[in-house]
Amino acid sequence: MILGNAEKEFKDFVEKSGIPAAWTILGLSALPTSHELNVGMVGMHGNYGANVLTNSCDLLIAIGMRFDDRITGDLSTYAKQAKVIHIEIDPSEVDKNVKADAPVVGDAKAALKALLPLVKKADHSEWRAEFKKYDDEEYDKITKKDLFHEGNQIKMGEAVALLSDKTKGEAVVVTDVGQHQMITNRYYRFKKQNSMITSGGAGTMGFALPASFGAKVAVPHREVVAVIGDGGFQMTLQELGTIAQSGLPVKIIILNNNFLGMVRQWQQLFFDNRYSFVELQNPDFITIAKGFGIEGHKVSDRSLLSESLDTLLNSDKPYLLEIVCEKEENVFPMVPAGGCVTSIRLE
């Protein structure tokens, strides 16, 4: 939908029909995070309500999505009770994973524009309220802990949430791949369209650094912040050279937990904590950046986090902020791979 520039038509459609809308990570920022009908992310690390209620809805309208296995989990238990409308430009994706009762092959913008007059103005606030129950539980069990914990270590979620506040939800955020990517999707509250750049289903580590440079070249007037993990950063860190050479003020945040976090999480949850080749002995990122001619500093003290982000955002040159995070943090909710979307775990 973002590629098809259909955000406006989508917003009109959602507001007229009153149907709650959820997004996949590549659909993030198409609808403002704070929009009343935005019920969050679906998928493996999506929101509790959005995932569970997929298996309770009467009608599922899928726009520009391919029903990737991260979204559906076990296909034999995915939305079997719902009628499915699939608006999709690629005919080979229709009926590939999920049988569509009403396939609409075509451009999202044109399709939504044509559908808008045909849809009745409706209010589904009771259905919308069902999501609230799950949202509240998710907040209690997960969000509160991620954002307002008591310990000394910085958690990834609070760093992202603070970034979101300071950039007023208007920055272009580029993520790499892993836990930080999921955390950023959860806690950065997007206000503007076309603000989330990520490799999506490709899952390519090392994507963020060069991509953030590309994004800054494309929209130099917008703040571009790359959020990268310590693993992915090391895969393309030579691009610091390209950034330094251009002088474009790309802002880089490394959420350093000294681990290949996502893999470690799986090893903890599904393989009895048998950590294998996931702990990283990292170099001194700030010295490396300085070697390329890029300013930066490291923060590990929670009390200095806010000030550090200010330094990062106020710089008019490229800047690298290394945030040392809690080593063994897990991202929840999580739908176990190949599991049913309703068996989403909260811890």
Binding site: D90, P91, S92, K96
Partner: protein
Amino acid sequence: MLINYTISVFTTNTVGLLNRITIIFTRRRINIECLTVSETERKGVSRFTIVIRSQSREFVEKLVRQIRKITDVLAVFGYLDDEIVFNEIALFKISTPLGCEPLDVKTINLDWNAKVVHWGLEYVVVEKNGTEEEIHEFYSYMKNWEILEYVKSGRVAVGKTEKGLVEFLPEEGNWEIV
């Protein structure tokens, strides 16, 4: 139960296209039983005829849709054996040294509808065309002699409909008869 599916792919005559098509099969770990490529009656249009064996029609339908997405592919069709007219050709090089059991050329010609196409000094080459089954039966008969070499072509097939190829090609092209 594995059944034959014949996939006809119409393409422009581009170098390297075979790789792009066969990788769709490789990715799904499907064995290509046989493959034929040649030009068609339309200028610049080539045709691939690929035979696979599969248990699931749905699987083959998805495969066909993925092939359709490739640039330079103009049209793709999947067929079951009863939806096409098809044939294959095979050559048998048989050893005929002095003093061996002679080949019964009359049986080969009349009963099996095959023919001897080459006589060497100590070998003979026999050609048979027919369906895979017919060739297989003939092979069992020829095993009575020493088979030095055996080669079978891929399948050539046309659909059992009154439509011509040009009706399925994109309208914008110049599809003149060669």
